[in-house]
Subunit: 135 residues, 2 copies
DNA sequence: TAATGTTTTGTTATATTATAACAATGTGTA
DNA sequence: TACACATTGTTATAATATAACAAAACATTA
């Protein structure tokens, strides 16, 4: 019972944990094949093993995919248990990526309705510009 | 002089025009290799020819890339001469994609400042949900 | 028109990103 | 134990995108 509860709180499997740890300690978004290269010494040999772990980690909100870069970063936003509302800033020079956590922004977007009055369950926003260092 | 002016207004080259026409008349986002397949009868034989045209068309704002789908749609927002502020709604069932043109939204995002007071020159926003038909 | 720089094209090869299909093993629960 | 389901391992392949180089077309100015 306890164990099932823990599982539902998304205890990670072996491969998932290895790959999450790598992404979590990285200072920059990691690409799938860079991850593969890094975890080969831990016995993860095939792309599919990486992609499966990535899919699951994205699904449960532990990591996010930066779509414009095909790269993955750990979620550092405690409130986002699930990957349903994400916003990032991306520096076009040094490629530094930061997850934005702005209550105002998420509220605005979560409540945004299009012309037909349609509301959306999920969004991904990527801002581009120059970071402090690169300006 | 006149000609140069026209060029600066982004008259399209042969391949760019062929590929833009195809995307523009499509009711759904097109993927690069679907485009390639469709324009082979017009003499465009190699992926690179397609990608080069796509890059240029994106650069001048005639088309947009839907990052989460690796697909391209024509811009139907007369005000967006350059691909610097884009927003789309995507139906997760039928994959219908619509460009959102909301003055409120674009104003809000163009003026959005992060915690460090940083403003961004460019953004891409993708909303996900169910369209009217699929709901 | 000739000379020039720039953009576009054509072409082959290759790199990068991602999934299909199938068998085996592990894990949680009845 | 037995069952359902998630995870793993493995090989092969599909889908997406770029490198490098040469040639042709186009725009500008002398």
């Amino acid at each position: 019972m306890r164990i099932s509860k823990i599982n539902k709180m998304h205890n990670l499997s072996k491969n998932q944990q290895i790959i999450f740890d790598l992404i979590d300690k990285s200072s920059e978004p990691l690409k799938a094949y860079a991850i593969l290269f890094n975890v080969q010494k831990k016995g993860i040999k095939a792309p599919l093993q990486v992609y499966r772990a990535l899919d699951k980690l994205v699904e449960i909100g532990k990591i996010h995919k930066i779509e414009s870069r095909n790269a993955f970063i750990a979620c550092h936003n405690s409130s986002c248990q699930v990957a349903k509302a994400t916003a990032f800033s991306i520096c076009e020079i040094c490629e530094k990526v930061t997850e934005i956590s702005s209550a105002g922004l998420s509220k605005y977007l979560a409540n945004f309705k299009d012309k037909d009055g349609m509301k959306y369950s999920k969004y991904n926003l990527e801002f581009f510009g120059l970071c402090k260092k690169c300006r």
